[in-house]
Symmetry: D3
Subunit: 335 residues, 6 copies
Amino acid sequence: MILTFGETLLRLTPDNPYERLASASQLKMGFAGAESNTAAALARLGHLVYHVTAFPENLLGDAAINSLRHAGIQTDYITRSGDRIGAYFIEAGASLRPSRVVYDRAHSSFSEIDAGHFDWKEIFAKKQWFHISGITPALSPACDETALHAVKEAKQAGVTVSFDFNFRRTLWKDKSQAAKSFDRLLQYTDYVFANEGAVKDVFDIGIFDGQDNAENAAEAIRALQTRYGLKGVAFTLREQYSASFNKWSALACIGGQFFYSPVYDIEVVERLGGGDTFGAGLIHGIISGWDPGKILGFATAAAALKHTIPGDIGFLSEKEIFSVMEGNTQGKIER
Amino acid sequence: MILTFGETLLRLTPDNPYERLASASQLKMGFAGAESNTAAALARLGHLVYHVTAFPENLLGDAAINSLRHAGIQTDYITRSGDRIGAYFIEAGASLRPSRVVYDRAHSSFSEIDAGHFDWKEIFAKKQWFHISGITPALSPACDETALHAVKEAKQAGVTVSFDFNFRRTLWKDKSQAAKSFDRLLQYTDYVFANEGAVKDVFDIGIFDGQDNAENAAEAIRALQTRYGLKGVAFTLREQYSASFNKWSALACIGGQFFYSPVYDIEVVERLGGGDTFGAGLIHGIISGWDPGKILGFATAAAALKHTIPGDIGFLSEKEIFSVMEGNTQGKIER
Amino acid sequence: MILTFGETLLRLTPDNPYERLASASQLKMGFAGAESNTAAALARLGHLVYHVTAFPENLLGDAAINSLRHAGIQTDYITRSGDRIGAYFIEAGASLRPSRVVYDRAHSSFSEIDAGHFDWKEIFAKKQWFHISGITPALSPACDETALHAVKEAKQAGVTVSFDFNFRRTLWKDKSQAAKSFDRLLQYTDYVFANEGAVKDVFDIGIFDGQDNAENAAEAIRALQTRYGLKGVAFTLREQYSASFNKWSALACIGGQFFYSPVYDIEVVERLGGGDTFGAGLIHGIISGWDPGKILGFATAAAALKHTIPGDIGFLSEKEIFSVMEGNTQGKIER
Amino acid sequence: MILTFGETLLRLTPDNPYERLASASQLKMGFAGAESNTAAALARLGHLVYHVTAFPENLLGDAAINSLRHAGIQTDYITRSGDRIGAYFIEAGASLRPSRVVYDRAHSSFSEIDAGHFDWKEIFAKKQWFHISGITPALSPACDETALHAVKEAKQAGVTVSFDFNFRRTLWKDKSQAAKSFDRLLQYTDYVFANEGAVKDVFDIGIFDGQDNAENAAEAIRALQTRYGLKGVAFTLREQYSASFNKWSALACIGGQFFYSPVYDIEVVERLGGGDTFGAGLIHGIISGWDPGKILGFATAAAALKHTIPGDIGFLSEKEIFSVMEGNTQGKIER
Amino acid sequence: MILTFGETLLRLTPDNPYERLASASQLKMGFAGAESNTAAALARLGHLVYHVTAFPENLLGDAAINSLRHAGIQTDYITRSGDRIGAYFIEAGASLRPSRVVYDRAHSSFSEIDAGHFDWKEIFAKKQWFHISGITPALSPACDETALHAVKEAKQAGVTVSFDFNFRRTLWKDKSQAAKSFDRLLQYTDYVFANEGAVKDVFDIGIFDGQDNAENAAEAIRALQTRYGLKGVAFTLREQYSASFNKWSALACIGGQFFYSPVYDIEVVERLGGGDTFGAGLIHGIISGWDPGKILGFATAAAALKHTIPGDIGFLSEKEIFSVMEGNTQGKIER
Amino acid sequence: MILTFGETLLRLTPDNPYERLASASQLKMGFAGAESNTAAALARLGHLVYHVTAFPENLLGDAAINSLRHAGIQTDYITRSGDRIGAYFIEAGASLRPSRVVYDRAHSSFSEIDAGHFDWKEIFAKKQWFHISGITPALSPACDETALHAVKEAKQAGVTVSFDFNFRRTLWKDKSQAAKSFDRLLQYTDYVFANEGAVKDVFDIGIFDGQDNAENAAEAIRALQTRYGLKGVAFTLREQYSASFNKWSALACIGGQFFYSPVYDIEVVERLGGGDTFGAGLIHGIISGWDPGKILGFATAAAALKHTIPGDIGFLSEKEIFSVMEGNTQGKIER
């Protein structure tokens, strides 16, 4: 049984392909968040996954819970409190035009939890894995405290902890705050999923020059692992040619050894949630007891496939992911 | 030239007819607010109307301005400030199921203006009419102050002031606050548009028992007019049989004399914005110098027609409204 | 085998229920016209129906032909000529707001046919019935000539002729023109489908005062029948309470005897095409050799059902229509 | 904890309001079934509800499970077997045009279960209530056997059994088969939800003449109750004026005493699932230990509200239903 | 006059681009099948084409016929029998994610025809060409018999026969069955349209290693032609880089000589129906009496264009296809 | 303050991506035209822009004005006259299939203006820039006269004139007419925006062989500039690989010196309006007083971005365009 913890937001995006918000008259409505995206992918892979979050007691909170349930996520630990659900609006980019996100998450139910909001002792009972990301501590001091409290409790309960090194510049007053917070959390963390840019930004580790690079990434992984005694660290490598075409791969150091995935060419449908699915793939592989190369290969293929699915969630079966790992990347129709 | 002042919100409503938010996957996106709805109807009737409000400096603020311009509203006095646009979600009711609104307007750009945000001296230059509603003072103490400041400046500038007696229970801590605020504003007001329920709630004037009634309404109008020395007061009368069928009429006291409109049977498409269009009709009639009976008849017919149009805005030509006033209520096709 | 002759137009209407054109961003696209609507209903009732018209040689002309074929209409006699397809835009009304039609049909391929455009001798070969309406002669002098030429050829070929007394005020310079044209056509006509208002407008026959009335209608029918020696005349009777609710019935004089249909209460989905389906019902009944009461009852029930279907076309099976005739008007679900 | 058992079907219906299948190009996709509709309504009312059914192991089976989870239903006992999911297509009627259902459910995974498909001993552990309907035994001899087996096991496990007396003529070879099957099931049933027509059809009980009637219904209820020693029987009473307008009420005999609900006027959005929500309301009331009058009132109000919601499922909170019971049927907007 | 024979299925696909079935709420509805797709393309190219198939007598059968007529196909020989229309659901792939098809075609009206269902003598009267595919014999023993019977009758009637070597693995119990069936049919066939993989699978002819290759294809074509004395054999060559990008070409042996088409780069919109349009292009070219190089070029260009059109059908004019043959593949806008 | 002058058309395009008109049932509705597209882009960049055109006095004319206002364009000089709005239908191409436009603009309100329709003296008061295109003079002799009259008045009023060298072959009887008209207009023009093909077609200047080429373009620019003494000439260079992928760059001669933009790789969403946005970028740069290299770079980047936005209008902020100029073409997500 897996636990994920973090904010799930109302997601709104123009219904017409590539339309800008300024001229949209219809929006697709969904619910997403880094950690619940990972939870959804894990549920699809057969795990019993509980997502811990808070929603307001209104029609949108109801809709959010329905949506998580649709994805197969257990909602038992979700509280109803606060005044509003955090929201974000996405304008999908294409070619040389970037996707743009407008966040409207301040004052959300989740960001306004107080430090003792969740009963972690009860929540961790019988759980095996706890997954958080760097977004939660950025949302409020209480969120930061709660995240720290949670990973400590997890450790105490013998639960494995993974941390997605998500760094959202606009959510932090300055980088030093993030560095302080992440540093505390990483003391209790077993696995880290990250990329060069974020690690460079927060800890000034590595020699990132704007482009992901396997060699530099390995350097940074080694530094992270040494500093925090992590069981495993995995970095994604994205070569972004345009909003419509990316190359995608990953490397990981698990058990002191480095592993490299193949590089996938991707005509992008939606890249949001790619990293979250990568994390889900890693957790699935580790729990499944696979060898590290297979774990990394699985997570990379899963995340590559995610880029071909609209929305944030990688609703993907193990079989589909294995097929890509076996080299079936030509998109041959399956009847 | 007419001025309206108040918050314009992002409006989101399920795209499928009568669908509930809990199961919606597509939302219609629009922008609406009591005062800008009135402004839109007035613009359609040929007036040069400026709406004064504040939007955040983001893609949604851009979209809001585009939307007001689409409706023919002048946006010169709109400021870009604050962090977010206020929003509301509507679930359209049918038959015995009520429409439900979820407001998400706290911390909006408009509600967080400070008292000196707008340069009213400049804004009132060459204007003829100023229209506000009871929603604005409810949004924050600074909004309350700003509204008061604005009506005072309007008086000083010789601008006619109309006040839509909108009372939103959930926006006020208690009724006495609303009473105090409205009382101050009405000192500077020429025309009031209201209904029995709101006046009873705020001022405990009238003998409202849950159902609009012309006789009781006349009583309340007289009391209001006496207390504030108003040039005119108009009340709408709604007999609500179901969310799908209403009867709609109005009465007014203008120049000391009472006028009564016909009663319209309405198969309701959307009732939101009915009162706002009623106000627009009154303002249009008064500015046009019509006799009071025609003014009231026009406003009532306009508002009745609004109920047949989706969205908040009564985009209606004078000709269409006149046609209903002349008795063309059978909906005969026009080719 | 049945022939219909007339213009088929591109029909565009806002996709959102009851939305106005001024704010629409999506339109439903279809193709319709009085005579091809009748043809479609007849095809659904099992007849081999050929529609004679003209479309431009472009992608819209292709789409129009596909659409007629979809409805089961034979398109062998359709010519490709001229520059554009005629079009109309409909804004669906509700309650006291009327539906509005914007025509954009001038200079269409059909209206610019010349008098000898169609080879009527060939077209009438082996046909049994020819149906036209009062719209065609209004479109251009050549259309007027062609219509006259066609009914004469029909008579000569022993083909029964029906005329739908459609009178579109805006298409004629003055009524006397229509009167002259219709008068010529009726010399060669066997059956007329009309209503009081149109007959009063064109021929000043009857005592129509704005409301359909069975007694006055009978008077007008008698006058028409006498003047032109018609085999049958049927009038629809519409009591229009609002755009959303109508009562609908009909009367006919066939073989010198009067017949009256039941009156149907109709919550209107779309009334366009009601009269066209009425005509189809009559033609079907007459060809089927039914007794006059059944013919009228069938046509009235068919047209009543049409009001519950979006679009112009009454795609209705005989069985469905019979069911209404048998009194099944409660809309009980059929599984 | 509540159990429901029965087939859940793929539901497909034209996306445009009132469009016919013959001209549709877009369909709304959902999943529904009498028993899972009841389960969904119960889940929304706060119960832990497990639905027992079978889906094929394909993408549609996945989608069906997601959909049930969205509605809050527990899917633990759903098996994946067989070749296809049963489906039905609905064409929504309006006014005098009936809604039409095309079933395509033969050879479905559910209908092809064998008698020992489910492990009822395990399923009934710790459950309180078991709900089935008359549709299940109609689907195949094995379904009939399984239903009987299930109610027997329920009785043995001390679980309360309710039976929705759904009789689908087209699913049975002849009525006597249904009578035999229902008779067996009712031996083990505590509560029956039905209407006059179905009971008359299957058991020839009552004097139903095509129109529901409270007096006759009471007669039939008494007969049913006597014959099977039922704890309670509730009948719905539908006065169907058209597909768009119904009157709706109910009566019940619980504990030997008769109770009558108010009569609700309903402008119908969708009537499918009305009876299923009625059943959910009754089960909720009985489990809640309310007095019989309140139980019946709640169920009737819930079902009335269901008619205003598109789709099969009455996603309704207790608070909303109570509000209608308190007389709030005017559809006044809630902000 | 051309005849095509085979099953036409209800086609359902998520409305949102690239959405998965598991999260879809709207589906596009259409009707398609290998042989009727070919018929549609031929009708667009100006041929009188009759499609022979069977549909159930319900609303979906009606819709299917309307859809075929929309495409210009003659429906005179379509029978109404059986219980259900076969269906398939497609989830469109993108990039490295394959499109997935869920078939739900068992027990369909077409698959349950009996051997004497169609009156082939009457059907073949005055026909010139008969086109079938390898799907039909796979559907049931009676379908297999009927296909064989049909080609024999075709031969006897002097009608040219073409066979699309469609091999659907999941429809056959084992390959030997397919081999036996195809072998029988090919005795009466003039032209075969195929690809290396299918021919290798069924007859173990060629040295296909997973990638189409012109040299190997030529080998296989020679073998086929020799074995069955065919007038012509054409193979498509698909280089599949991803679901979004393919290279497409073809080769053919006609009159003992080999012809090779150019290779087209294709950004894929939908590849379904590509082969069916290829067949239509070949038939059109052969009937037109073109030289073999032009025939092959035309068919290849037509099929390439088909990949840019959503749905199964290549609705393409001769002029559009000629333009591509002339090298206009840059997609320059045509005004 | 900027003036643009030209026809704005109703734009209709199938709603489903890449669907053909022949099978479309829903169209997106918008309003566009070369000059108002430029106006819209300029308004977004912060300019006060007035568009001069004519619309009919009907619901579509209202909608057109709303749409221009939505884009931020001033509509004060728009007249309401004539009978119909010009329209065009677009079928979006993909890969090797071209986009196709069906124009239906004959007899439009704009094309039927008479020579003295607009009061240019009043219109040019206080204006700084006047922009027209080669489409206007093609629409009618009066349009040609009016355009000439306008540029003369502009010159006299000291207003800078830019001319977009749009040449629509199908709108002119022969090229010599266009040459004559353009020649007259260029006498009064300061800046010309063009491409090789158009200039070759109209004036037979340059050595265009079907492919844009910087060297040849420079030659043609020099010739144009010499002949008409222009302040600046800019040519776009499009390398069209397919409807889905283009390379895009530009060169300009301003102040006697040549400037070359970078070349952008573009996955095309919609190329219509690319040139219009290019013009807007140039005008914006020139008015801003930037150096020529920056002006050209800005315009080219703006136009490249336009290709990624559906519809005709490049709704783009200065900041977004600067970002591309700075090399941010990888489409990295902006949060």
